[in-house]
Structure formats: C-alpha cells, structure tokens
Symmetry: C2
Subunit: 333 residues, 2 copies
Amino acid sequence: MKLASLKHGRDGRLVVVSDDLVWCAAPPPAWQTLQAALDDWHHAEPILRGVAESLAHDAVPHSRFHERAAASPLPRAFQWADGSAYVNHVELVRKARGVEMPPSFWEDPLIYQGGSDGFLGPRDAIPLADTSWGCDFEAEVVVVTGDVPLGADYATAAASIRLVGLCNDVTLRNLIPAELAKGFGFFHGKPATAFSPVFVTPDALGAAWRDNKLHGQLKVDFNDAPYGRADAGEDMTFDFARLIQHAAKTRALGAGTIIGSGTVSNRDSDGGPGRPVAEGGRGYSCIAEQRMVETIASGAPKSAFMTHGDRVRIWFDDAGGHPLFGTIEQVVA
Amino acid sequence: MKLASLKHGRDGRLVVVSDDLVWCAAPPPAWQTLQAALDDWHHAEPILRGVAESLAHDAVPHSRFHERAAASPLPRAFQWADGSAYVNHVELVRKARGVEMPPSFWEDPLIYQGGSDGFLGPRDAIPLADTSWGCDFEAEVVVVTGDVPLGADYATAAASIRLVGLCNDVTLRNLIPAELAKGFGFFHGKPATAFSPVFVTPDALGAAWRDNKLHGQLKVDFNDAPYGRADAGEDMTFDFARLIQHAAKTRALGAGTIIGSGTVSNRDSDGGPGRPVAEGGRGYSCIAEQRMVETIASGAPKSAFMTHGDRVRIWFDDAGGHPLFGTIEQVVA
C-alpha cells in the first residue's frame, strides 16, 4: 500500500495511491491526515488497504495523482530522529578531518533529534538565504513507526515499522563545525527536510525489504547528471529496528515518529573510499562525501556545495524501473 | 487568558481556565485542541477570550478544573527547542569540569532540539528504568510561538509569543557526557518533559512579563523542602524574543513551537556561585547545579540525583501568592 498527502492546510489530505503512482483515492473522513491514520493504525490500516484494493480494481472514485501536488506524506511530524547507520560515511568524515573514529561507533548508533515542525514537499524549492552556509543534500531512507514503548526490544521495534520512504535531509555544512563545537548538536545546520511523494508499507516493497533494510540503489542525480548510485542495503551497520530500539532506550516513541538512516554510503569495491559515478564508482549521496574523498586524495575539497538554481533528484526504482516512492526533485531558491 | 488541556486521547481537550484555576469551560468544537487553536490563532484567540470573559462572569457552562486531570497544555508538539539562556548555569557546568567557557557564549545562544512526540502531564510520574542514569529535574520557563518566518527579526520574534508556561525538563545526567562526546547532541539524556497545568497569554501576566522575560521567583521544592528560589527575570542573558530569533535563523518555525529558557539560574549576591536556600541563598533549579557548586567548593559532588519515590514541585506565584501556571508535581517511579 502506498500513501501520500496532497497539499492542503498544515497536515495535507491523505490519499491512497495506486502502485504505479498514477491514481489516488480518498480514505473515509475519519482519516483525513496520515497522522490521524497512524494515531489509530489498528483501525485505519484495514480500511486504507480496502481502499487500495478497490483502487486497484477501479472500484472507487479516484483521480490522477500528481507528485507535484504532494506534500511530504507527513507535512509536519511530532518526531524526526535521524540516525547515521552507514558508518562508512562517518569514518570518511573523520578521516577527512584527520581524526580517528572511536571503535564504539561500530556498536553504538549515532542519532540526532531533527526539527519536525514543517517539512518541504518533494518538489518544493530549498529556501537558502545565504550560499556561504554550504547547502548540501543528503539522500536517505526513512521509516515511520507506530507507538514504541520505552525500552522496546528488537522484535518490538521491528514490528513497529509502518511505512518506508526516502528523504533529502538538507544540511548547511558550513554552519555545522561551529554548532557542534558548542556541544548541543545540530540546529541551524539542519533546516527543513523533504520526503518522497509516497510512503509505502513494508509488505509492498517485496524483495527490496528484508532484514529491516531497504535493498537496492538509492539514485541521486545532481544537475541532471548521475551523482549517487549507492545500494541502501549494503554497509548499513544498524538496520531500522536497531535504530528504533536505540531511540527508545530512555523514552517511548509516539506514533508517526520518523526515523532516518543517515546518508546512504557504500565502500568502494576495493574497500577504499568511493569513486564518482563517472569514474565507474557508486558515487555519493551527498556533496560532503565527495569533498571528503577529494580531501583524503589531494588534501583539499574541489566540489562546491549547492547554489541557487542547482537541482537534486532522489529516487529508488522498483524491479520494473519505476520510482517506487516517487521522486524528490528540488531546486535551490 | 489561561489555557489547559484535559487528559483525552493523544492531544487532550482544550479548556479555558479561570484566572484562579478553579473553573474551566470548553471552547467551540472548531478548537478542541490547543494545537488546533494555535494553527488558527487569528480566528481562535478572540473566541477563546470571549469564553474566558464569559467564564469570569459565570455566563457559560463550566466545571471544576483539577490540575491532576490536566495533560501538558500541548500533550505533544511539533517542536520543542530548549535554549540555555542563563549563561551563569553554563559557566558553572564548565567550571565544575575545569574548562573555560568560550566568551562567545555571552553573545550566541545555545539551543538544542528536544523530543516533542509525547510530554508528561504536570502530575505524571517520571518513568525511570535505571537509577544509575542520574535522573535530574530542570525548572524552566517556556513560551509557545505562532508561525515564525525564516530569518525573523527581533520584533517579529517577540510578536510571535502566544503563551507562557513552566516546564520540568527531565534530564538523565549520567548519559550526557558519552552522548555529547559522540557529537550529535542530546537524545537519550533528554526523556519526556513535563509542562505546567496551564499556559498563560503574556497580557495576563501583568508586571511579571516585561522585556520578553518572566520576572519573579521560579519556586522548586525537592522532597517537600525549598530547593530553588531563583528569579527567572535576573541573569537571563537571552530573552525569549532573542531565543526565537536565533532558532529561526535558517528555517521557519511552525505554530505551536515551544521554546525553553534552559535551567533558571542566578548568581549569588556576592557574584559567586549560588548557595542552598537553607543557607540563605536562592538555591538551584536542578540538582546538577548544586553538585557543580559542591564540586567547585570541595572537589566532589555530595548531593545525589533523584531516585524512586523522590518528589519535585515547580511553580511560580502571582502577586497574591497563588501559582500562576498551576503546579508541576512529579514523583520518580
């Protein structure tokens, strides 16, 4: 089942979307928003699945689904907590700074509390007041949870996964060093995030979803050229159940919590840092990673961060070559 | 005007509360939750003020207001961002650790992104799975904002303040050093926060609200003995408008954003670190600060963090000696 929120007010209007993303149908009035459905999933899920089945059989009123009319599936959320599960990425960050990564990073997940009061739609421009802030994209996989009790075990965490999607975790790189030096984590460095046009239930992902990971290429094009082709299922040190379990260590997580994977990142086939797609590598899911590889290779970064007019596309193809979650496509404005 | 949310479902049921906190009345159905009112404040505010006036004149159906029946005014929120505006507190933390505080901390506010997916009610127990985590209270002042545009100036930030309240920002002290060393800010160290039974519009605070600060004693009792009597209006380096402006530097803030002051903390009258209330001082708004003062004085902390059965009360008296925001009263369970 695929769900989206059409742009409408602060929380959008929930629609069930056909598997091919061509049509959509409205659920009953009790679940006008995705948050309302997640709050009452036990009742909502069978109803929404019924709508999806009727839509597949052309048996309900429906209209064309346009990705450009979609908000993020949760246009705002009560929690957005982003992990850093591809430890390769973290190790590269440290290596470029010339510092060792603590070995505990392979055992103990990193996660930060993100701002969730307003997300960008999948086709919304990225507002950037100052290009010197170093605006970067980060292509990630996300899951949305139901209620997760405090101290949940791995199986409970896994069973809490309701939906899977993609995001562009926009990051202002040049604001981060000073911010992290203050010791309180990210704030200015993480402006509004954008999510894929649809979120999908794990059962509808087929072979692409196993071991609580999404398997397959997370595709990123930057200014219409291939930039990232990393496999989201490889090198993910902590799967989503593990990230959720970690997040719930000292507190319960409310229904509708979004948990992110962090920037998807693969080691190169020879074990070294990745190469650009144009050089036969898998490329990068953010500009910072390319800059880190450049720094490791030549002492300084060469690639510039995004500036006004730059365009990033993020998507994930199904077995038939169609974007499973729709496409995030954003221009810096 | 005073607003509260009676415990009901995930978002509570909004009520207008009489100034003496004895009676409450329901608003019209369009604004059944405080978030709904904040989302539509331009329309909701005059209606809610009408209910408050009718309630004051005994001219609407009303019932007894019981603080124990109240959830946090926003039982969950789309954003909870907590500052650290009492730089005295930050300086003591550093001094106890034997490190200098960067002078920039007097100019550049600290703020962290808190978890907002579920808050504790003002009389809810504090769930603590492991006493070795070092459970502490933090008595703070908070404001709730309307929509704040990206890059808002000081006057716009000040005008966005809708409501004022108190909170107990529960903190797990012993988890924080390792967490901050990882560089991603607080997560495990900040479990669910509790807020005061009512939030109050600034105009109803009279002389206690000026210069975008709350003025007067924030009272804290720990296990029924006076613990903190700091004045929230003194030593607040960054007022709430400044904190909001800082938070909105790189992104807009959605209506219903809660901004916290950080632990209220005063210098002692002789300029030194504070003394306990029992020794004629203003005491402390968290146990950690007492421990820091003990460490500075004698090389090691003496006071223990909270354990099961410990009780904390946080309130702020009006000119007549009645708790203006009601009372937060929590036991560790």
